[in-house]
C-alpha cells in the first residue's frame, strides 16, 4: 500500500507488500540451494526430470514407459456380444494430468467466462448496454447486472489496485493543485492531450471551491500521445510487419524475438499500449488477409490501370504551379515558417521538445526547367518483361526523349543478364533471353537505327520525292526500288549522320568511305545532286555507276527489317554462340540422281537410303520387339555436331559426287545389314584433327598470317591452271579477307556461280562483259557488303592499300559460264553428278545468304569441300 502517512513521505511512493518483520532472535531463512530443490507431484511423489525436450517432468506413466493400460498397447477387440465402444480421442486423452490442472494449458477449473467478466473494459459494449438500458422497458434494469457482475481483472489491474489505484484514475503520483474532477462514469476515459478550455474548466473551478487544500488527487487518466516524428519513407499510417502481432496474434509485451529491431522495439511497445482495440493480425494490401483477421478487405479487387490517371494534370486552380512539384517560391514560404520557434502559450502538460527534429534530412526538390508543363502522358504500355525490355528501351529511345544512360535505368527494367552486366559477371552462354542479344553489337545498333528510321517516316516521305527527282535526273540505276529506299533511308535526318559516324561500310577504302559519308551528308542536306557531288570526278562513268549502286545498296542494307524483330522469334534450339549445330549424321542423299533413277524405273539401290535408326525403348516394348540398340541412348537418327555454317550441312554433294552409282550398290546395304553394324564410310569419318582444321578460327588465323606476309608465294600445286587460280585466291584473301566472290580451286563450282547467287543483276551483267578491272571493282563491292555485316573483319581490311598494289591482273580471263566450267572440270571427277547437284548448291547457298552467313566461312567450306573432293578422287 502506498504510504500516505506523513507529509514528508508524500513524494515517496512505495509499491508492493512488505515482508513481515522478523521476530526477535530469529535468523533469516536461508533459501534452499538449487540442488536440494525437488519437484513433487500433487501426491508428494518425487518427480524425475527427463529432459526438457523428452517429456520434462512428466514423461511416461509414473516414470515408466508404460501406459495406463500397461506395457502392451491396447488392441481393438470388438465382437457381436461385446461391442467395442467407438471412442473418439480428444486432445485431452494425450495430455498430462498437470495440463488439466489449474495452471496447465487446459485447466479444468471453473472460471468466469467473458460474458460475466467485468465489462468495464469493453467500452463499446458498455455503451451499447447503457443505450439498451435507457430504452429498456424498465430503465436501469442493467443496474442489477452491474451489481452482480463478477470481476475478472487482469493481474496488472490487481496489482495496481493493491497499490491504491482505482479505475478511472491515471497512474502516477498524486497531484495537489490540479484536482481531478471525478467523472460520474469512471469507465469513460478521456483520450487526447487536453480538454478544450471552457465550461469544464469552469466546473472544475467550481468544484475547487469545495475542496480542502490538503487533499491530493489522482492524476488524470490520459493516454500519452505519440510524438515520435515520422522519419521513414513509408506512407502515412503504414505499419510494417509487427513481430508481436504477427507471431502471437495478441498485443503481448512478452518478448521481442527480433532483437535486431531493438531500436524499433520501443516504438512497438508504445504502439502496443495504444492499439488495444486494433485489429489483430497483419493488415494492408501488401500482406493479404491473415487467418486471424476477422474482416476481409476486398482482396479480390483488381488493380486495373484504369483506376489510375494516366495524365498528371494540374488539379489546382490558377497557373498550375501548385502541387508537390511546385516551383521554389511556394515551397520556400513554408520552409521559413517551419523554422520559427514556437512562441506563445504552451499548454499545460506540454513542454518544448528538448531534442530538436533537426535530424530529419530534407532533400531539396529537383530544379524544374522553366518551360516545364506539369502534364505527363505515359508512353504506350509495354509490360517490362524480359522479352521486350529491349523493345522498351528502343521505344524510350525512339521517342527522342532523354536518352538515359544505363545507370539510371529503373531496376525494374533490368533483367537478369543486364544486372549481371552491371555487376560485371560474364554472361552464361545460351541463357540470354532476347533474340536481340544474340546479335552482334553492330547489328543491334543497326536495328536501333532502323527503328529510328521507321519513326521518321514522315521525314522520309519528303526525302523520297527529293530522291526521286535526283534519281530521275540521272541514268536509272539497275534496280530502281533498291536505290530508292536507300535514298530515303540515307536522307532520314540525323540518323544518317549518326550512322555515318559509327558505321563505315567502306572502311577499307578510306577515300571511298569519305565519299560515302559526303554522300550521306549531301543527301541529308537535301542536295539534288548529292551523288554527283561526292563522286570522284576522275572516275569513269562506269565506275561512278558502280559506286552509285554500291552506295545505294550500302544504305539499303541498313533498312531491311523492322524493330519488332524481337517479338517474332523464339529461342533457337541450339546456342547461337557455338559454331556447331546438330545435324543428322546420315542424310538422305541428293534427290537428283534418284530422280533420274526413278525416271529410268531403276528402283532399288539407287532410290533407297538406309539409316541407323533408334526406336524408343518404350516403343519397342509396346511393339513387343527387342530393342535393337539396347545400350544406346539415342532416339531417332543419330545426330552429330557439325560446324554450324558448314555448307556440308546442306550439301550432300561431294559424297554423291565421289561415289559412283554402280559402286554404291551392294556393299552399302550389306554394311548396314551386317551384324557388326559398321556404318558406311562417310566423309564425316574424318579424324578429329581434320575437323579442327575446318573451323573458322583456323581459317581466320591463316588469313591473318597471310595478311602479315602479303607477298607470300603460293604453295606449289599440281596443275598449272590451278596454281594460277589459287594465287589469285590467296591474293584476294589478302586484299579482301572476307571476300565472298570466291575464286575456287580447280574442282569446285566457279566463282561465277556465286556471283550469280550473290551479286546483283548489274554485277552479273558486268561480270560477263567487263574486263579484269571490272572484276576487281566487283570484289570491292562484295567487300563492302561483307563489311556491313561483320565488324570483326575490319582488322583484315586494314591492309587494303598494300593489297591493292600487289593485286595482279590474272592472265586468263575470268570464267564466264559457271555451270559450263564446272561441268568441264568436274566431269572426270564427279561424273556429272555435281552438275545435277548444282541447283541444290544454289539453294543451300541462298539459304546461307539469307541467314547472313559470314562469307569467310563459306570460303573455308568450299575450299575444304574441294580438298575432300580431291582426296576422294585420289582414293579411287
Amino acid at each position: 500500500m502506498a504510504a500516505l502517512d506523513s507529509d514528508s513521505d508524500e513524494d515517496l511512493v512505495s509499491y508492493g507488500t512488505g515482508l513481515e518483520p522478523l521476530e526477535e532472535g530469529e535468523r533469516p531463512k536461508k533459501p534452499i540451494p538449487l540442488q536440494d530443490q525437488t519437484v513433487r507431484d500433487e501426491k508428494g511423489r518425487y518427480k524425475r526430470f527427463h529432459g526438457a525436450f523428452s517429456g520434462g517432468f512428466s514423461a511416461g506413466y509414473f516414470n515408466t514407459v508404460g501406459s495406463k493400460e500397461g506395457w502392451t498397447p491396447s488392441t481393438f477387440v470388438s465382437s457381436r456380444q461385446n461391442r467395442a465402444d467407438k471412442s473418439v480421442l480428444g486432445p485431452e486423452d494425450f495430455m498430462d494430468e498437470e495440463d488439466l490442472s489449474e495452471f496447465g494449458i487446459a485447466p479444468k477449473a471453473i472460471v468466469t467466462t467473458d460474458d460475466f467478466a467485468s465489462k468495464t473494459k469493453d467500452r463499446i459494449r458498455e455503451k451499447a448496454r447503457q443505450l439498451a438500458a435507457a430504452t429498456a422497458p424498465i430503465p436501469g434494469a442493467t443496474l442489477l447486472d452491474d451489481l452482480i457482475a463478477p470481476a475478472k481483472l487482469s493481474v496488472g489491474f490487481e496489482l495496481l489496485r493493491k497499490m491504491g489505484w482505482k479505475e478511472g484514475q491515471g497512474v502516477g503520483p498524486r497531484v495537489k493543485r490540479r484536482p481531478r474532477r471525478q467523472k460520474p462514469d469512471p469507465g469513460v476515459k478521456i483520450y487526447g492531450c487536453a480538454l478544450p478550455p471552457g465550461d469544464s474548466e469552469g466546473s472544475e473551478d467550481e468544484d475547487d471551491d469545495y475542496l480542502p487544500e490538503n487533499v491530493t488527487f489522482a492524476p488524470k487518466d490520459v493516454t500519452p500521445v505519440d510524438f515520435t516524428p515520422k522519419d521513414n519513407v513509408h506512407g502515412l499510417e503504414y505499419k510494417g510487419l509487427d513481430p508481436h502481432q504477427a507471431l502471437f496474434g495478441t498485443s503481448g509485451e512478452h518478448f521481442n524475438l527480433f532483437s535486431v529491431g531493438s531500436e524499433r522495439a520501443s516504438s512497438f511497445l508504445g504502439d502496443v499500449g495504444l492499439s488495444k482495440g486494433r485489429k489483430l493480425g497483419i493488415s494492408g494490401q501488401a500482406f493479404g488477409v491473415g487467418a486471424l483477421e476477422e474482416e476481409d478487405d476486398d482482396i479480390y479487387a483488381t488493380e486495373t490501370l484504369s483506376k489510375y490517371d494516366t495524365v498528371l494534370k494540374d488539379e489546382e486552380p490558377g497557373d498550375g504551379l501548385y502541387g508537390w512539384t511546385a516551383p521554389k517560391q511556394y515551397k520556400s514560404q513554408k520552409e521559413s515558417e517551419k523554422d520559427l520557434r514556437y512562441i506563445g502559450k504552451i499548454l499545460d502538460g506540454f513542454s518544448l521538445a528538448s531534442k530538436s527534429l533537426s535530424s530529419k534530412k530534407i532533400y531539396p526538390p529537383p530544379e524544374l526547367p522553366r518551360d516545364y508543363r506539369p502534364v505527363h502522358y505515359f508512353r504506350p504500355m509495354v509490360a517490362a518483361t524480359s522479352e521486350n525490355s529491349q523493345l522498351l528501351q528502343i521505344l524510350s529511345e525512339s521517342s527522342g526523349k532523354a536518352i538515359c544512360d544505363p545507370g539510371t535505368h529503373s531496376r525494374h527494367q533490368l533483367n537478369a543478364s543486364k544486372r549481371g552486366d552491371l555487376l560485371g559477371e560474364t554472361p552464361i552462354p545460351g541463357s540470354t533471353t532476347s533474340v536481340l542479344e544474340f546479335l552482334s553489337q553492330k547489328d543491334k545498333e543497326r536495328i536501333k537505327e532502323m527503328k529510328q528510321a521507321a519513326d521518321l517516316k514522315a521525314a522520309q516521305l519528303k526525302a523520297r520525292s527529293l530522291a526521286q527527282k535526283a534519281l530521275s535526273g540521272r541514268p536509272q540505276p539497275s534496280s530502281p526500288d533498291l536505290g530508292h529506299c536507300s535514298w530515303h533511308m540515307a536522307s532520314s535526318g540525323k540518323t544518317a549522320a549518326t550512322r555515318a559516324s559509327d558505321f563505315k561500310p567502306f572502311a577499307k577504302d578510306p577515300e571511298k568511305q569519305k565519299r560515302y559519308e559526303a554522300f550521306l551528308v549531301n543527301v541529308k542536306q537535301g542536295h539534288k545532286d548529292a551523288l554527283e557531288r561526292c563522286l570522284d570526278p576522275s572516275m569513269t562513268e562506269w565506275e561512278r555507276g558502280r559506286e552509285r549502286d554500291e552506295f545505294a545498296r550500302a544504305s539499303q542494307l541498313y533498312v531491311s527489317s523492322h524493330s519488332t524483330l524481337s517479338s517474332r522469334f523464339t529461342h533457337a534450339k541450339e546456342e547461337d554462340d557455338s559454331d556447331q549445330v546438330e545435324v543428322p549424321r546420315d542424310q538422305e542423299n541428293d534427290v537428283n540422281d534418284k530422280q533420274s533413277a526413278v525416271k529410268m524405273k531403276m528402283f532399288g539401290k539407287l532410290t533407297r537410303d538406309t539409316f541407323e535408326w533408334h526406336p524408343d525403348k518404350l516403343l519397342c516394348k509396346r511393339f513387343n520387339v527387342p530393342d535393337p540398340y539396347p545400350d544406346s541412348t539415342i532416339v531417332g537418327l543419330p545426330r552429330v555436331k557439325r560446324d554450324k555454317y558448314s555448307v556440308f550441312n546442306f550439301l550432300t554433294l561431294p559424297e554423291t559426287a565421289s561415289l559412283p552409282a554402280t559402286q554404291a550398290s551392294g556393299e552399302k546395304v550389306q554394311q548396314h545389314r551386317g551384324p557388326d553394324k559398321s556404318r558406311k564410310p562417310s566423309r564425316w569419318d574424318t579424324s578429329k584433327q581434320e575437323k579442327k582444321e575446318d573451323s573458322i578460327s583456323e581459317f581466320l588465323s591463316l588469313t591473318r598470317s597471310k595478311v602479315g606476309t602479303p607477298k607470300q608465294e603460293p604453295s606449289p600445286l599440281v596443275n598449272k591452271e590451278e596454281e594460277h587460280v589459287t594465287e589469285s585466291l590467296s591474293n584476294k584473301m589478302v586484299t579482301k579477307g572476307a571476300d565472298s566472290q570466291t575464286e575456287v580451286e580447280g574442282s569446285r563450282p566457279s566463282m561465277d556461280l556465286f556471283k550469280a547467287i550473290f551479286a546483283s543483276s548489274s554485277d552479273e551483267k558486268s561480270s560477263s562483259s567487263e574486263d579484269e578491272q571490272g572484276d576487281s571493282e566487283e570484289d570491292q563491292a562484295g567487300v563492302g557488303e561483307a563489311d556491313f555485316k561483320h565488324s570483326e573483319e575490319t582488322d583484315l581490311v586494314e591492309t587494303s592499300p598494300v593489297a591493292h598494289s600487289i593485286e595482279p591482273a590474272p592472265q586468263a580471263p575470268a570464267p564466264s559460264f559457271p555451270i559450263q566450267k564446272m561441268h568441264i572440270e568436274e566431269k572426270s571427277l564427279a561424273r556429272g553428278c555435281l552438275l545435277s547437284s548444282a541447283p541444290m548448291l544454289v539453294r543451300s547457298l541462298r539459304y546461307l545468304k539469307r541467314r547472313n552467313i559470314k562469307r569467310t566461312k563459306k570460303n573455308t567450306k568450299l575450299r575444304k569441300s574441294t580438298d575432300e573432293g580431291k582426296r576422294s578422287k585420289r582414293n579411287f
Binding site: 543428322p584 538422305e588 534427290v591 534418284k594 530422280q595 533413277a597 526413278v598 524405273k601 528402283f603 532399288g604 539401290k605 532410290t607 533407297r608 537410303d609 538406309t610 539409316f611 541407323e612 535408326w613 533408334h614 526406336p615 524408343d616 518404350l618 516403343l619 519397342c620 509396346r622 511393339f623 513387343n624 520387339v625 527387342p626 535393337p628 540398340y629 532416339v635 531417332g636 537418327l637 548396314h672 545389314r673
Partner: protein, 315 residues
C-alpha cells in the same frame, strides 16, 4: 481313289453394288473396315465418326468429339477401341461401346492425315501434315508421344503398321519404313508426292500410290520395283489404294469416279468399276472376302462379287 485337289476359286472382283449408305455426316473423308470386316467406320467432315454395319446398312454409333473434320480412323484388333485423327490436330482414342473419348492426344502441329493402331492397340501412330509421325502410348497417361518420327521433309499422308514396322508415306516423295526390330530406317524415293501406302498381306511388298497417277509395288526388302499400275487418275487428291483380300489385285481410287483393279502380277487393268461421277475419295477392302467399300461424296457404297447373294441375317 483320290480326288484331285479342288481348283482354287478364281478370284472374284467385287463389282455388284450391294448397298449405298447415305452417311449424313457431310463428305465422307475415309471409310475403313474394322479388323474382321463386319463393321465399318466412316469419317465425316461434320466432325463425327460413325460405326456402321455396311451390309445391313445400320448405323451403330456416332462418335462425336472431334473439333474439326475427321480424316482417318482405325479400329483396334479386339474391336474395343477406335482411334481417329482429324483437322483439329488431335488424335482421339474412343471406347467403342460407350462412345466416349478415352484419350485425346494433342501435339501435332497440323491436321492429322492418318492414324493406325499397332498390332496390340497399345500404340497409336498418327501422321500429320506437320511432317511427323507420332507414336502415342495408349497405356500410360503421358501427354507426349513416345517417339516422334520427324524424318520426313513434308507432310505425312499415309501410315501403316505391321508387327514390327512402321511404314510412312510422305508428300516429299519418299516411303520410309522404320524397322523396329532391326533398328533401321529405309527410305525409298518415289519422286512424286505419295498419297497412300500399304503393305501387301504377305508382308513382302509395299504398294505405293503417288500423285503422278501411278501405283508402284515395291519389294519391301530391297526397294525394287515389282510392278507399276497406271490408268487411273490421281493428281490432286489424297486417294486410297489397297490390295485385294488375297493379294491378287491392286485396287485404287480414281479421280474420275471409278475404282481401278489391276492384276497384281501382270499389271494389266482388270476392271474399272464405275462408282459415280465424283471423286472416289476412299476405299477399304474386306480383310477376307471380296467386299469393297468406297466413299464418294457423302455416301459409301458396298460392293460384292457378282455371285454374292445377300444372306439373310448373316450380315
Amino acid at each position: 481313289m483320290a480326288f484331285p485337289e479342288p481348283k482354287p476359286r478364281p478370284p472374284e472382283l467385287p463389282q455388284k453394288r450391294v448397298k449405298t449408305l447415305d452417311c449424313g455426316q457431310g463428305a465422307v473423308r475415309a471409310v475403313r473396315f474394322n479388323v474382321d470386316g463386319n463393321y465399318c467406320l466412316t469419317c465425316g467432315s461434320d466432325k463425327t465418326l460413325k460405326l456402321w454395319n455396311p451390309l445391313r446398312g445400320t448405323l451403330l454409333r456416332t462418335y462425336s468429339g472431334h473439333g474439326y473434320e475427321v480424316l482417318d480412323a482405325a479400329g483396334s484388333f479386339d474391336n474395343s477401341s477406335l482411334c481417329s485423327g482429324g483437322g483439329d490436330k488431335a488424335v482421339v482414342l474412343w471406347d467403342v461401346a460407350s462412345g466416349q473419348v478415352v484419350r485425346k492426344f494433342r501435339g501435332h502441329a497440323g491436321k492429322v492425315n492418318t492414324v493406325q493402331f499397332n498390332e496390340e492397340a497399345t500404340v497409336i501412330l498418327s501422321g500429320s501434315i506437320d511432317s511427323s509421325v507420332r507414336c502415342w502410348d495408349c497405356r500410360s497417361r503421358k501427354l507426349e508421344p513416345v517417339q516422334t518420327l520427324n524424318e520426313a521433309r513434308d507432310g505425312i499422308s499415309s501410315v501403316k503398321v505391321s508387327d514390327h514396322e512402321v511404314l510412312a508415306g510422305s508428300v516429299d516423295g519418299r516411303v520410309r519404313r522404320y524397322d523396329l526390330r532391326m533398328g533401321h530406317l529405309f527410305s525409298d524415293y518415289v519422286g512424286s508426292p505419295i498419297t497412300c501406302i500399304c503393305f501387301s498381306r504377305d508382308g513382302q511388298c509395299t504398294l505405293v500410290s503417288s500423285l503422278d497417277s501411278t501405283l508402284r509395288l515395291l519389294d519391301k526388302d530391297t526397294g525394287e520395283l515389282l510392278g507399276e499400275y497406271t490408268g487411273h487418275k490421281n493428281q490432286e487428291y489424297k486417294l486410297d489404294c489397297c490390295l485385294s483380300e488375297r493379294d491378287t489385285h491392286v485396287v485404287s481410287c480414281s479421280e474420275d469416279g471409278k475404282v481401278f483393279f489391276w492384276d497384281l502380277v501382270e499389271g494389266a487393268l482388270a476392271l474399272a468399276l464405275p462408282v459415280g461421277s465424283g471423286v472416289v475419295q476412299s476405299l477399304a477392302f474386306h480383310p477376307t472376302e471380296p467386299c469393297l467399300l468406297t466413299a464418294m461424296g457423302g455416301s459409301i457404297q458396298c460392293w460384292r462379287e457378282e455371285a454374292y447373294e445377300a444372306e439373310s441375317g448373316a450380315g
